[in-house]
């Protein structure tokens, strides 16, 4: 149809003569007219009847009189954004039978111009965002049978326009974000069976009916972020195709058992910045498409979430809880896990993470771990970062790190170690041992050839890694390649940062077995 229309346009105007245009616009042969940002106070005249795209945004048109587009029957896209429009005559848009896209955002409208929209039977996209709309008359969208995308965000709505939306069976994407909506009644979106995306973020929603989302059987994305929800939105159970759910930055304290059992296709759940105190053990089971789960600060949570069936998790964060143990079969289901953060819990015993072969980062700091066995981290050849700091570890099996061929960062600081197993740490570039006051013997630098940064309990232990020349800068010291100094000690040219660095009052000689 587009080709026919342009052919007709060329024929209608004689191929050689340029398309009719208005002095205030830039037009092309294809029916494209750009009159934006010209300081116009009224719709330009003199445009070609075959104009299909008209942009008069960012002008000073405050009113649209009747029949102002009567001469443009082929118009498909009309842009009127940013005009301080406050009044649209009921007949202003008459004649636009082919209009598909109407942009009225960034104006001064206080109500939806329902009468003017009535005959736009081909309209698919309607932008009314960033106005001052407080009311949506019941018949606002009556004539718009083809409407697919509706923007009503950034207005002053205090309730969901349930009535006006009742007949929008073809609507696929709707945003009511950034309004003042405080509740969602039951069956608010009952007939929106084609809706795929619904944004309600940045409202004041405290209360939602348990059937408020009934009818949204095709919804895939629901955004309830930045509201005032106090309880978990159980109403999501009526949406079997939900893939992305956001309710972060609300006031939800509890995620109940089986919270997502009716939403098996969930890929992403955004729930941070809620005062969580409890999470049901079964809440996150059987979510086979979920790739990331982040639970922070559920302070009353005592049991590790059951993740059976949630087999495609790549990132798992559970921090700030009273969890004291990790399921021994955790890695049976999490073969794809790449980052695991279980810091700031009360974990005492560690299982083996052997099945989680793709793990790259493990954070276990701030727990109550007392020992690390041979199998704990066995076969994690992709592991790069391991943080075990601030635990009570007194014993690490001598071969615990044997298979960690990619490990570059190891933090064992603030524990109760007496020795450090260096087997398998050939790739280590950063090692933290500070705070293990029982480690008094010098460390074997030759087993840590790639070390760049190390913190040790006592300054003299730095001497194994840096020449204790008085002229070297106290912190950043480089070791020169080639034999020299001590017999057989190879010095490798590496920039090494060692703390606490030895100095005048902390000489390299180990005096009296300990340092005051």
């Amino acid at each position: 149809w587009a080709l026919l229309r342009r052919g007709a346009a060329a024929a209608g105007q004689g191929l050689s003569t340029p398309a009719a245009c208005s002095p205030a616009c830039r037009c092309d042969e294809d029916g494209f007219a750009d009159c934006s940002g010209r300081g116009l106070t009224s719709v330009p005249t003199g445009l070609s009847a075959f104009t299909y795209y008209l942009d008069i945004s960012m002008n000073n048109i405050t009113k649209l009189p009747a029949n102002v587009f009567k001469t443009l029957p082929y118009l498909e896209e009309l842009r009127l954004a940013g005009n301080d429009l406050s009044f649209i005559h009921p007949d202003a848009l008459s004649g636009l039978h082919q209009l598909k896209v109407l942009m009225l955002q960034n104006n001064q409208l206080r109500t939806v111009p329902g009468a003017a929209l009535k005959n736009l039977h081909a309209l698919q996209s309607l932008r009314l965002d960033a106005n001052h709309i407080t009311a949506v008359p019941e018949d606002s969208f009556e004539g718009l049978q083809q409407l697919r995308h509706l923007w009503l965000d950034d207005n002053s709505l205090t309730e969901v326009p349930v009535g006006p939306l009742r007949h929008q069976g073809n609507l696929q994407a709707l945003t009511l974000a950034l309004n003042r909506i405080s509740r969602i009644p039951d069956h608010a979106f009952a007939n929106l069976s084609s809706l795929v995306v619904l944004h309600l973020h940045n409202n004041q929603i405290e209360e939602i009916g348990t059937s408020c989302f009934a009818g949204l059987e095709n919804l895939e994305t629901l955004d309830l972020n930045f509201n005032k929800l106090m309880t978990f939105p159980e109403a999501i159970q009526t949406m079997p195709k939900l893939k992305e759910l956001g309710f972060h930055s609300n006031n939800i304290g509890i995620i109940p058992e089986g919270a997502f059992r009716k939403n098996p296709f969930l890929r992403a759940i955004h729930l941070y910045d809620n005062p969580l105190t409890f999470v049901g053990v079964s809440a996150f089971q059987n979510l086979s498409d979920l790739s990331s789960l982040m639970l922070r600060g559920a302070s009353r949570m005592q049991e590790f979430p059951n993740l059976s069936g949630t087999v495609n998790l790549e990132s798992l964060t559970v921090t700030g809880t009273k969890i004291s143990g990790v399921p021994v079969d955790l890695c049976n289901d999490l073969a794809l896990l790449r980052t695991l953060d279980l810091s700031y819990n009360e974990i005492g015993m560690l299982p083996t993470f052997q099945g989680c072969v793709k793990l790259q980062e493990i954070s276990l700091q701030h727990n109550r771990i007392s020992q690390v066995g041979r199998e704990t981290f066995q076969d994690l050849s992709a592991l790069r970062v391991l943080d075990l700091s601030r635990n009570q570890i007194s014993n690490i099996h001598s071969n615990a790190f044997e298979t960690l061929s990619s490990l570059t960062n190891l933090d064992l600081s603030q524990n109760a170690l007496t020795t450090v197993p260096v087997v398998g740490l050939g790739s280590l570039s950063q090692l933290r041992l500070a705070g293990n006051l029982q480690i008094k013997s010098p460390l074997n630098a030759r087993r840590l050839p790639k070390l760049r940064s190390i913190s040790v309990p006592y300054a003299y232990q730095c001497c194994a890694f840096i020449g204790c020349d008085p002229f070297s800068s106290s912190d950043e010291v480089s070791r020169k390649k080639g034999a020299g100094g001590d017999e057989g000690v190879e010095r490798i040219s590496l920039v090494l940062h060692c703390s606490p660095a030895p100095g005048a009052f902390k000489p390299c000689e180990h005096l009296l077995g300990s340092w005051m």
């Binding site: 954004a81 960034n106 965000d153 696929q172 974000a177 950034l178 995306v197 940045n202 095709n218 992305e244």
Partner: protein
């Protein structure tokens, strides 16, 4: 007058500089960085350019790239028009249409098959 800050900002701008264009926008406008070779120039728009979608928030309104197969989109996961060679079906740009639907090249959409 703050050194480096321009006095004549483009419409929609709240603050701007001669070299970088708009640095911040008036309320309800989207900030967008136009690329011109290595140089980036800030502009304030009432809607994001084709190939981007707008996200409004109380503090700021941003433009984010649509998926590569979309010409325009409502959000990152929902396209409203596809690139050539793709066909729109329920917000997705597909290279082939699901059963019962046929590709329409002019509209780049999957449309109901003729009975």
């Amino acid at each position: 007058h703050t050194p480096g800050m321009s006095t004549g900002c483009q419409s929609g701008c709240l603050t701007c500089s001669d070299y970088n264009g708009c640095l911040s926008c008036k309320p309800k406008f989207f900030i967008f960085l136009e690329r011109n070779g290595m140089k980036q120039t800030g502009v304030c728009l009432t809607s994001c350019p084709s190939g981007y979608y707008g996200t409004r928030s109380p503090e700021r309104n941003d433009c984010t790239k649509c998926r590569p197969e979309c010409d325009s989109c409502f959000t990152g996961n929902f396209c409203t028009r596809c690139r050539a060679g793709f066909y729109l079906h329920q917000g997705k740009c597909l290279q082939s249409c699901p059963e019962g639907r046929a590709p329409n090249d002019a509209q780049r959409e999957c449309v109901p098959e003729c009975p």
